[in-house]
């Protein structure tokens, strides 16, 4: 095996041709056919194959079944290899032996790097392929800042304008570190678009927030993104949660009508002491899942740190935060009212009880698997998803 190409060799190609370059270089190093495949980067409920470089798959996008091996690679973030006879579902390479590894942007799987040839792949070659999957993910994420080609290859249809804005402002959907695991998502990703979530790990602490701009579509998006700009701006200035809330409120009051307001919940968690600060402006509080199976998840109460929506009233407020001592092994699930107000065919809302039930039901699942299960649960419950359903789950592992 030759030396493995580095990120710079992938980025040598024009931005739109980076995925094809990855396939070409992989093919050269391992002496095989290779393909870069993208899955729908927005959908949390179903799996779609949306792009292939080189163009070896007909009729994209295609919905994949849960049993497809391509789904296993993406969902479980695991590598597969073996004879083609044992491959389940769609394969873009018609060769006797296949290998597939996740294409990752740090902890977010964006697709699959696949190789095929007449001889089996050795273990060393699989780990080389895995390294290429990581390097390719990095190269793709740089390249997509300069071209539409990659974004287009990662979606199954054109989203609404509000959803376009939304998807371009969200942080990566997953972050896994020894001290904290964060996963977040919004459904239906191709429509609606008034919610956002955000997180950042700064200097031993996690910042996490969910916002819901009133209304729907562009009207809501305007409220939402004024808020997001104000929150990120104040946060990067080093302000505390109270000041960040004030800044967001002021930005909205100055730029929108009284009927245009937002709900916003923000938390800061110290990752070494498990101390959390929390403040909410009319946003539902998160659910705390304590460690230990015998203890039930509960909606975290907000005594004295819950306020009316921001942007609705001109008065300035003192947004006092609440302090909570979390335990190692805890999980926090932040959500928007789109989840609890989801209505079934009988017009019954899922409610806090329904959400708590699902959180309890899936408490053994972790990372993206938990988020997907929750999203699917709400999706199956709802007759129609009419409002953004936003979920962010934060796990604080028990031992570091």
């Amino acid at each position: 095996m030759d030396h493995l190409p580095g990120v710079e060799e992938f980025l040598d190609a024009p931005p739109s041709e980076v995925p094809a370059r990855v396939a070409e270089k992989t093919s050269g190093v391992l002496g095989c056919s290779a393909a870069v495949l993208f899955v729908d980067g927005l959908d949390y409920v179903r799996f779609y194959l949306t792009g292939a470089f080189p163009d070896t798959v007909d009729q994209l996008p295609r919905e994949l079944r849960e049993t497809d091996d391509l789904v296993r690679v993406v969902r479980d973030q695991s590598s597969l290899s073996g004879p083609r006879g044992g491959w389940s579902g769609l394969s873009p390479l018609e060769r006797d032996h296949l290998a597939a590894v996740p294409l990752v942007l740090r902890d977010t799987v964006i697709g699959v790097l696949m190789a095929g040839r007449s001889e089996p792949f050795e273990e060393g070659e699989i780990s080389a392929l895995e390294s290429l999957g990581v390097r390719a993910g990095a190269a793709v994420s740089v390249a997509e800042k300069y071209t539409d080609a990659i974004d287009v290859a990662r979606r199954r249809k054109n989203p609404s304008i509000a959803a376009e804005l939304q998807s371009s402002h969200l942080p990566p959907r997953a972050l896994y570190t020894p001290r904290v695991e964060v996963v977040g998502g919004i459904e239906p990703a191709y429509d609606v678009g008034g919610d956002w979530f955000d997180y950042a790990v700064n200097d031993g602490e996690l910042f996490v927030a969910i916002c819901d701009g009133v209304g729907r579509g562009l009207e809501a998006a305007r409220v939402s993104y004024v808020t997001l700009g104000a929150v990120r701006n104040a946060r990067k200035r080093g302000e505390d949660l109270s000041r960040i809330m004030e800044a967001a409120h002021r930005a909205l009051v100055g730029s929108t009508t009284p009927e245009q307001f937002a709900t916003l919940v923000m938390a800061r968690i110290q990752l070494d002491t498990y101390e959390m600060e929390l403040v909410s402006a009319a946003h539902p509080p998160p659910v705390l899942v304590p460690p230990g199976k015998s203890r039930a998840p509960e909606v975290l109460r907000l005594p004295g740190n819950s306020y009316p929506p921001i942007g609705a009233f001109e008065e300035e407020r003192d947004y006092a935060t609440g302090r909570y001592s979390l335990e190692p092994g805890s999980r926090l699930v932040f959500f928007s009212d789109g989840a609890t107000e989801a209505r079934n065919a009988a017009r019954e809302q899922l409610g806090f009880d329904g959400l708590l039930h699902a959180i309890r039901e899936f408490r053994n699942l972790r990372k993206m698997e938990f988020l997907r299960a929750m999203m699917q649960y709400v999706d199956y419950y709802a007759e129609e998803i009419e409002d953004d359903v936003t979920l962010v789950s934060v796990d604080l592992p028990g031992h570091v």
Binding site: E259, Q260, S306, Y307, P308, P309, F313, E341, R347, D387
Partner: protein, 127 residues
């Protein structure tokens, strides 16, 4: 006068002991916001008994209200307050009270458990 269906939205101005009341039933969501807003802001909904204009909105029979419905209440509250008046909301123990509590608007709005309670104060200084 009351026509009610389970999901259907209805908002109309009714006279309760000589005082206009905006009586709302059903679900308030984005689809009905224009209608809800136009009834709540109708000059005929204003009572003249207090120092400024008062609008009494009865949400006790509302089965669902989302944030866009809350937005109409906020807009009307601010408008009336600007004129030295007041928005009064009757919720009973229904879903409307739940969402107003959840959004901490119960500390901003004047909320009453029945029309009588809301009217009592309203007519107390006047007729």
């Amino acid at each position: 006068m009351q026509e009610s269906s389970v999901a259907g939205f209805d908002a109309r101005i009714v006279a309760h002991a000589g005082v206009p009341v905006v009586a709302v039933t059903g679900e308030i969501d984005l689809h009905v916001v224009p209608e809800f807003r136009s009834v709540v802001s109708d000059p005929g909904a204003r009572s003249a008994a207090g120092p400024g204009p008062v609008v009494l909105v009865d949400l006790a029979e509302v089965t669902f209200m989302d944030s866009s419905g809350v937005g109409v209440l906020i807009g009307q509250h601010r408008e009336l307050e600007g004129e030295g008046g007041e928005l009064r909301i009757v919720t009973g123990e229904g879903p409307a009270l739940k969402i107003l509590k959840l959004t901490s608007l119960d500390e901003v709005f004047s909320i009453f458990s029945s029309r009588e309670d809301a009217m009592h104060e309203l007519t107390g200084g006047g007729s």
